[in-house]
Symmetry: C2
Subunit: 416 residues, 2 copies
C-alpha cells in the first residue's frame, strides 16, 4: 500500500523535471491528453457507471449524481477545456522588468512553479482533468484526492493522464491519484509540510473548514459567497433591474450569485417596487428590512439571520440604506470578501466602491456573476480564494506560480 | 488587561481606515515619524538603558546587548530608513493592465493591503519602527510583538508612533505594541484566525519553528540560509576568488553568507589551491571532500554533517563535483531555497542555473550577499520568505499587499 507521503516524495522528483519543461513540450502533452480523452469514452463510461450505480444504491441526491456523471458530452467539453489551456501563455520563465542597480547588477523576478499542489475535491470528476492540465501547464506536480463517490472514474482518468505523460516522456508521478477509499488520506495529504506546497480544497464548507483547521501546509481558503449589490442614489433603474435579476437568478446555487440587495433610501421609493416585481416574477422570494416591506408589501420581513446569509437559492435579502457609507458598512460586516457590486452613475462613488470595498472582486455596473476565471479572462480556474494571501479571487495559471529573484552580474561583490 | 484579540479587533477597524488613505497622507505621517524619532532621543535612550541594564543583570551576551542598543546613532539611521520609505512608490491602488473582454467589460487587478500583520521578533528594537513604517505605507495595521529583552524600548517607540499617528489624524490602533511580558501573547497572536491576516516571525530557528507549527494564521517562513556557489568548468578564476571571498567573509553570520563551495572537477586542480589560499588568508576554515583535501592539504576532511550545514561562521564546506548536473543535485538536496550562485562564462549554463535551481534568489557571477531587500532595490524589507507561497525572498512593500479584481461595466449581465 503506497502512502501519501511516498506519493508526495515521488511528486517532488517529478516536479523538478516539470519545472525544466518548455511551453512546447507541455502543450504537446496537453494536446495528446485531449486526444486520448476523446478516444477513451469507452473506458471512462463504464467506470463512471459503476460510480453512479453505487451512488444510487446509497441514495445520493439526483443533483449529486448529475455532478458525478461523465458521459461523452462531459468528456468532450473537458477535452475542449484542456485545449483551451494549450492556448494560454505559459507563466513559467517570464520575467518582470529587469532593472540595473547602481553597481551594474541586472536584477528582476522570474516566474517559477510552486512545486507540488494537493487538490481535495468532491463529486465532479472533470476537476481531475482540469486540475491535471492546469498544474502541468504551470509546471507543478499534483496529488489529486477526489471524492469517494467518483472513485472509479477518477482512477480511470488518472490512468489516462499517466499513459499520456509517459508517452510524452514526462514522469507519470507528476499527476497522481490519491486513494479515496478512506478519509485518512485527506488527513495525511494536508499534514505533509515540506512535501506539499499548497492545498486547494474545493467543495462544501464542511470540507474546507476541516482542511483549513487541520492542515500543516498552506491552504487556499474559500468559504462562501455572500455577494451584495448596492443601488446608489444616482443609478439607472433599468440597469439596476437587469443586474439584480442576472446576479440573483442566472444560477442561484453558485458562490457568485447575489444574496443581498442594498438600496439607497433616495432610490428605494421609485426603484424598489419595479425591481421587486421583476424578481418575484422570476420566482424569487424577498426578505426585506422594514422600509423594504413598506414599499414592497409582498416581501417577508427579514430577521437578523438574513443579513450575511448565503441562500444559494431563489431567496434575496433587501435592505434600504441611508447612503454609500452605510452600504459599505453593511458589506464589511456581512460580506464574505467574495464579490461586491455597485450600480451607480456617480464617478466618485464608483471610485470609492472600488477602492474601499474589500472583496476578491468588486464590480461597477456589472453582474456579480462575472467573478469567474473564464469571465475574467483567466481561462480555467483551479479554485477561488477569499483570503488575500498569495491569491485573491479566481486562481488560474499565474496563481499556481511564484517569483524568484534573478541577479546577473559580472563579478560584483558587496561592499557594505 | 487588554487581550491580543481585543487589540486585533481594534486593528481591523484601523486597517479599514488605512486602506482608504492616499500616498500623500501616509508619506506625511511617515515624515512626521522620522522627525519625532529624532526629537525623542532623550525619551528613547533612558528606556533603552533600562533594557540594557536588565540584559546585563541576567547575563545576556555582548552580541545580544549590542543588537538591543538604541542610541542616538541607531535612532538617526532608523529615521533615515523611515524617510527612505517615503520615497518608495505606494503599491496600494496601482492597477495591472486592464483588458477589455469581448462583452465590453473592462477587467483587471488592483493592489490592496493585506489587512492586519502580526510581527514577532527578537532583540533589535529598530524592527519596531521599520515594520510600523512599512505597514503604514502599504496600508496595513500591525501588531508588534517584540522580544521581552527590548520591552521598555519597544513600549516607548510604540508611544512615539501612536503620538505621530494621532497627530496625523490616523487611528493609533493602526500600530499597536503587543505585551512582551509573557510568551502567551505569541500563542494568542498566532491563533487569531480571521483577525490577523499574516504573521511574520523574525529571529532564531526555534522561534520560527514554534510559530510555524502552532499558527492558525498564515505565516511567512524563513528557516535558514544554506547558500552555495558553484564554480563551473568555464569560469574566471580571479572572479571566482572574489565571489567566494565576498560571499563567505563579508559578513559570515548572516543568512545570505556562503556555506558551501562546489567546484567543477575540471576547474578544481587549477582554481582550488588559489581560492583556498585566499580564504585561509582571510581566516576561513575549510572542510573538503576527498578530492578537495588532496588538492588542498590544509583543508580538514568534511563529514556528512557538513553538507547542508549553516555555519554562520568563518567555516566553508568544499566539494568537487563532476558537472553542473551534480552541482544542481547537491543544491536541491542540501540547499535551503535561499540564495544559490554560479560563476560561469557559459551562456548555456547560466541559463540552466537560473531556470532550474529552486531558490528565492539565483545569481550569476555575483556574490550571494546580494539577496537583500536593499541590494535588490526594494528598500527596507519586513522579512524574507524561503517558501514560495505569497512571496519568495526579501519582502518589501509589494509583498505586504495583494490584488483584487476590478470590473467596470455599463450594465453587462452574464449570458452563459
Amino acid at each position: 500500500m503506497t502512502t501519501v507521503l511516498e506519493q508526495a516524495q515521488r511528486a517532488r522528483v517529478a516536479a523538478r523535471g516539470l519545472a525544466k519543461l518548455g511551453r512546447a513540450e507541455k502543450d504537446r502533452a496537453l494536446r495528446a491528453l485531449a486526444a486520448r480523452l476523446r478516444e477513451s469514452v469507452e473506458r471512462i463510461t463504464p467506470a463512471n457507471t459503476k460510480d453512479i450505480e453505487r451512488a444510487k444504491a446509497i441514495g445520493l441526491s439526483a443533483a449529486m449524481i448529475d455532478r458525478l456523471t461523465m458521459g461523452a458530452k462531459t468528456i468532450e467539453s473537458t477535452a475542449v477545456g484542456v485545449e483551451y489551456i494549450v492556448g494560454l501563455e505559459d507563466p513559467v520563465g517570464s520575467r518582470r522588468e529587469m532593472v540595473q542597480r547602481p553597481n551594474g547588477l541586472l536584477v528582476g523576478r522570474q516566474r517559477i512553479p510552486l512545486g507540488t499542489i494537493g487538490m481535495i475535491y468532491e463529486s465532479r470528476p472533470n476537476v481531475t482533468i482540469d486540475s491535471a492540465a492546469l498544474c502541468l501547464k504551470s509546471g507543478n506536480a499534483v496529488l489529486l484526492r477526489g471524492g469517494k463517490e467518483a472513485l472509479e472514474t477518477n482512477r480511470m482518468l488518472g490512468e489516462i493522464v499517466a499513459e499520456t505523460l509517459t508517452a510524452a516522456g514526462i514522469s507519470p508521478d507528476a499527476v497522481q491519484i490519491v486513494s479515496a477509499e478512506s478519509r485518512d488520506t485527506i488527513s495525511e495529504l494536508i499534514s505533509l509540510s515540506g512535501w506539499v506546497d499548497l492545498v486547494i480544497p474545493r467543495g462544501g464548507e464542511g470540507l474546507i473548514r476541516y482542511v483549513t483547521e487541520h492542515a500543516r501546509v498552506p491552504v487556499i481558503q474559500h468559504f462562501k459567497g455572500v455577494c451584495h449589490l448596492f443601488l446608489d442614489l444616482a443609478c439607472d433603474v433599468e440597469m439596476a433591474i437587469q443586474l439584480a435579476l442576472n446576479s440573483k437568478t442566472q444560477r442561484p446555487g453558485v458562490c457568485n450569485a447575489l444574496e443581498c440587495l442594498l438600496v439607497h433610501a433616495g432610490t428605494a421609493p421609485t426603484a424598489l417596487p419595479a425591481i421587486a416585481k421583476a424578481l418575484m416574477d422570476a420566482g424569487v422570494e424577498l426578505r426585506g428590512c422594514p422600509t423594504t416591506c413598506r414599499l414592497v408589501p409582498a416581501a417577508k420581513p427579514a430577521s437578523d439571520a438574513d443579513w450575511g446569509m448565503e441562500y444559494l437559492d431563489k431567496i434575496l435579502a433587501i435592505r434600504v440604506v441611508d447612503d454609500i457609507d452605510q452600504a459599505m458598512e453593511h458589506v464589511a460586516r456581512y460580506g464574505s470578501n467574495h464579490t461586491e457590486a455597485i450600480c451607480t452613475s456617480s464617478y466618485d462613488h464608483a471610485n470609492r466602491w472600488v477602492r474601499e470595498v474589500d472583496a476578491s472582486c468588486v464590480t461597477v455596473n456589472a453582474s456579480t456573476r462575472f467573478n469567474d476565471g473564464g469571465q475574467l479572462g483567466l481561462g480555467a480556474e483551479i479554485g477561488i480564494s477569499t483570503s488575500k494571501l498569495h491569491a485573491y479571487g479566481p486562481m488560474g495559471l499565474e496563481s499556481l506560480t511564484s517569483e524568484k529573484w534573478v541577479v546577473f552580474g559580472e563579478g560584483q561583490v558587496r561592499q557594505g
